[in-house]
Symmetry: none
Subunit: 408 residues, 2 copies
């Protein structure tokens, strides 16, 4: 049997006053998600441990079967992999924002979120900055970018240059563990930021931006230093072929670490305008070619971070439409389907929290339960009980007949 894992980022929520005390999952009309629950087996899943809010990075590491408390080594490397850089095993990755600094103070951490001219800026920084180690810089979505420093003897134990708040001065990157390697790496990063600021100051692109009424992209805010987590790729662990359909760089990076092939599907974004619901055919094609297909849907988390429960209901209904079109093409005797989230993101917080997420398994030989709808409170009564995310791949691969007995 084959296996399909659909992950809706931040889909889980808590009762919302704007929705009459229902969660976005409970408030919407989701006949296909409910069909999965009614015909399948449900439960709750803790992304990390009960009460501990997960990042999308650590949650996905757990979902792909490794212990993030042991293997996680920061986000930057994953992000760099995800935007298409190819960092080596010893390299360090960083997340970067183009920001606007006025009189030494950050006035906009994302330069107005407008990417006009950024590819030219990336090109010129890459040309003109000269460091004591090689580096790569690549644009990502919006005004984001990823930076890789190459070489040995570098350390990711570094503080962020981004103070994560406007109205403050950018910070110097500092070693966070007092090691010589971290001190040396911090110097290199600070050198990069200073040289890049020189390139950006008075760059024609920024003249153009200002002439158009846009904020200048005149400073690079670095954060999230990270190295490659040591994990066992899924093809090696389970003897399967595996692929990932995701728009979000971070998720693409984690999937790459776990040996999943990336399949590009046109029109997928991490934003509200994504067209996943029109792309079920791509997923069905992937299921023909691969043993395990992972599909990531970001828009539910976007609505949560925007604090917009009604928008989140809409995005869940978009997911539901996608699932309906998908199920029309899936034989449950040949494919086992799992659908879950990577963490709870309550709209009322606009950030991740530590509650478990609902999980459903559908197809194959699953032992069904009495749960009729897919939601945080309905799945709490399900036949799976409560798992941790690290159990998900074994549970799914067991249903697909891909696990080995321990003992005789």
């Amino acid at each position: 049997m084959k296996a399909l894992l659909i992950l809706s980022d931040g889909i889980a929520d808590v009762p919302c006053p704007q929705l009459g005390g229902r969660t976005p999952l409970e408030a919407g009309t989701n006949p296909h998600l409910d069909r999965l629950a009614a015909e399948g087996i449900t439960g709750l899943m803790d992304p990390l441990k009960p009460g501990i809010p997960a990042g999308s990075d650590t949650a996905h590491i757990a979902i792909f079967g490794e212990n993030p408390f042991s293997v996680y080594r920061g986000r930057g490397y994953l992000e760099a992999l995800g935007v298409g850089l190819s960092p080596g095993a010893d390299d360090i990755g960083f997340r970067v924002n183009f920001g606007t600094v006025t009189d030494g103070v950050i006035t906009d951490r994302r330069a107005g979120r407008d990417p006009t001219g950024l590819s030219e800026l990336v090109r010129d920084i890459t040309r003109e900055v000269s460091l004591s180690v090689p580096f790569s810089l690549k644009e990502a979505t919006g005004t984001r970018a990823a930076l890789v420093l190459k070489g040995s003897g570098l350390s990711y134990h570094l503080t962020d240059g981004d103070p994560h708040r406007e109205g403050l001065a950018p910070l110097s990157v500092c070693p966070s563990d007092g090691s010589d390697d971290a001190s040396r790496t911090a110097e290199i990063v600070n050198d990069f930021v200073a040289q890049a600021a020189e390139v950006l100051r008075g760059h024609p692109v920024n003249d153009l931006r200002e002439a158009r009424g846009l904020l200048p992209a005149n400073y690079m805010l670095v954060r999230g230093a990270g190295i490659r987590p040591v994990v066992t790729p899924l093809p090696e662990r389970y003897g399967i072929s595996a692929c990932c359909i995701a728009a979000t760089a971070l998720i693409r990076g984690v999937a790459t670490c776990f040996g999943l092939d990336l399949i590009d599907v046109p029109g997928l974004t991490g934003e509200y305008n994504t067209v996943l619901e029109d792309r079920a055919g791509y997923v069905l094609e992937a299921l023909d070619a691969y043993d395990f297909v992972f599909v990531h849907f970001k828009a539910t988390d976007t609505a949560s971070h925007d604090g917009n429960p009604r928008r989140k209901v809409e995005m869940i209904e978009k997911l539901d439409t996608f699932v309906g079109r998908l199920l029309a093409g899936i034989d449950p005797q040949k494919v086992v389907v799992a659908l879950t989230g990577d963490h709870t993101t309550p709209c009322m917080l606009g950030d991740h929290s530590g509650e478990p997420v609902p999980l459903v398994l559908w197809g194959g030989r699953v032992r069904t339960d009495d749960v009729l709808s897919y939601g945080e409170r309905s799945c709490a009564k399900g036949g799976i009980g409560r798992l941790t995310a690290q159990d998900l791949m074994p549970v799914l691969m067991n249903q697909a007949g891909r696990v080995h007995k321990f003992g005789e």
Copy 2:
């Protein structure tokens, strides 16, 4: 209070098409199992971890309270203990089948499953084979035997001589970890197999077998090398007397490692013809003499491996009859009863799988729940929730008042 643990091997299953989508537990009429559920507390138990299929050996190690991922050292030693050999702490045990080899190819891995004359063959091999270390060989059920190599500096990191398929040549035993000890042990085992084949070739017993139309038992297929797992015996851990009633050699071996006395009960087998339902009196006597009694019922697993759900329903009904006769003689104020399985064995797979098993506790002060029947899906709603097997002994001993407070 005393405690009785009834374990039905491979009792758990998944919805079976032949049973109208019910599991064998759900399809049968089991008033006494259901009484345990209705009057007790139920839940699910993962033998190892969610999704990981357990062997009977690793599952029983967990059920008796140790972590099999840490202590398991192969099956052969346990099997050798179970057939009544007394391997020392440094010795290595192997499972052996008498097989039939024709022109260098295995034509029957079990010599037609007929044990005629095997005791004489075991005697003559023991007499005539001479190795660089002492050894013991003993018949087991059917055409099985157990082999023990004695001495220090031996290693159990060995591949099997049994290719586990007919139509192939027997394999040389090889070291699986590249160590000198394993290389030396492999040589000794291969020497044993070669000398044993010489003894078997043209042995009068095989002439007799062939004259009777039976397959010759002319080759010894060795597998499952193992050493003693280091575990804490239950009498030591809980200050209790403990005994085991089981027909299966492996289970008797695991129980012996955990310090349980073996009680022989006539008529018990691992097959469909076992008469456990007529032996409740022996179990009640054991409960008079011991604080903890473990009863193992194999026939449910046998039916599962045979892929026969209707036969499994019958075997579960046999177990139910046994439980009914037992309950008639048990005072729930004096004995707490647990009933569970060691793993799921779906009839549709004919092998172990990674789903959890249903668990019920009955008697004493247990907090009851609303569950009225003993089954995979009903117990998923029970008051115990979902445990792992390593929790079972503490939970049971807590009910029996045999655990100690940690802290003050």
